[in-house]
């Protein structure tokens, strides 16, 4: 499968059944970054889920609650200024975009085994990361009122 067994000069560390401590010493090609960010973005949304439901609650319940929802991002909430909450929202926007787009990549790989290769993994990772960052910048500019 790999040439490391037959060519010890090129031997590189192999990782099986990874642990948290391995994350520092792992090689991180773009495909790994796309995959790692898929996990990170999922965890961010998991921990910010109460904030997401708070936004859902206040934005649809009544005109008055909608005012509270808007005010959090304009004048602030819980002693934090509005732009901090906008940054939190931007973090969620990035996480959702990355999880969504990288998820489509995963689903594509699951259903198109024949296409999956090292090159395919790299090329699609480039698409996922650049599309995600591009859309995050566009939506972030809108969020902060740049256009």
């Amino acid at each position: 499968m790999s040439d490391t067994a037959t060519n010890p000069a090129k031997a590189r560390p192999e990782f099986r059944n990874i642990e948290f401590a391995n994350l520092r010493t792992l090689r991180w090609p773009l495909a790994s970054i796309a995959s790692g960010m898929h996990r990170v973005s999922g965890a961010i949304m998991f921990f910010l889920m109460p904030f997401v439901i708070w936004m859902f609650d206040t934005s649809i319940s009544s005109e008055i609650s909608f005012g509270k929802f808007s005010a959090a991002f304009d004048v602030g909430m819980l002693g934090l200024p509005g732009f901090i909450w906008k940054l939190v929202a931007l973090g969620l926007i990035w996480a959702y975009l990355h999880h969504f787009i990288a998820g489509i990549r995963h689903l594509w790989m699951d259903t198109h085994h024949a296409q999956v290769s090292k090159e395919f993994g790299h090329q699609t990772a480039v698409v996922v990361i650049s599309l995600t960052l591009g859309l995050t910048v566009i939506l972030g500019a809108k969020l902060f009122g740049l256009y």
Binding site: G42, F46, M49, I60, S61, L107, H113
Partner: protein, 121 residues
């Protein structure tokens, strides 16, 4: 049945240990389609995007039902994902057990709140 493994696995057969994997994919597709449905209703709306439009989207009975399905999908999907992450990085079984219990409480609590918001609309 000649070949019944790999991509030829009968996904509606016995579980073969793939139930979590498959349910994560199916719930992902449901949530992805929901995202497009919500986006389409915002983009193809007339007038300003404010409270009226936004709450109106979730007031329709079919959207309430679909949103309920999405809340359950999210609960299920996030459980499988967080469980995978905990299994990879949290090795002591006792600690991992506590994390799993936390994830279940966290997710069911969030899902309950979301359903409450949806159902009183």
């Amino acid at each position: 049945m000649s070949v019944n493994y790999g991509s030829h696995r009968t996904v509606v057969g016995a579980h073969y240990g793939m139930r979590d994997w498959l349910s994560q994919r199916v719930t992902a597709v449901i949530m992805g389609l929901f995202t497009l449905v919500v986006l389409a209703q915002v983009i193809f709306s007339k007038g300003p995007v404010g409270y009226e439009l936004w709450s109106g989207i979730f007031a329709a009975q079919w959207m309430k039902t679909l949103t309920f399905v999405v809340i359950v999908s999210l609960l299920w999907h996030a459980w499988v994902g967080m469980r995978n992450v905990f299994m990879d990085y949290v090795k002591p079984y006792a600690v991992r057990f506590v994390f799993h219990v936390f994830a279940i409480v966290w997710l069911t609590g969030c899902a309950g709140w979301a359903v409450q918001v949806l159902w009183r609309l």
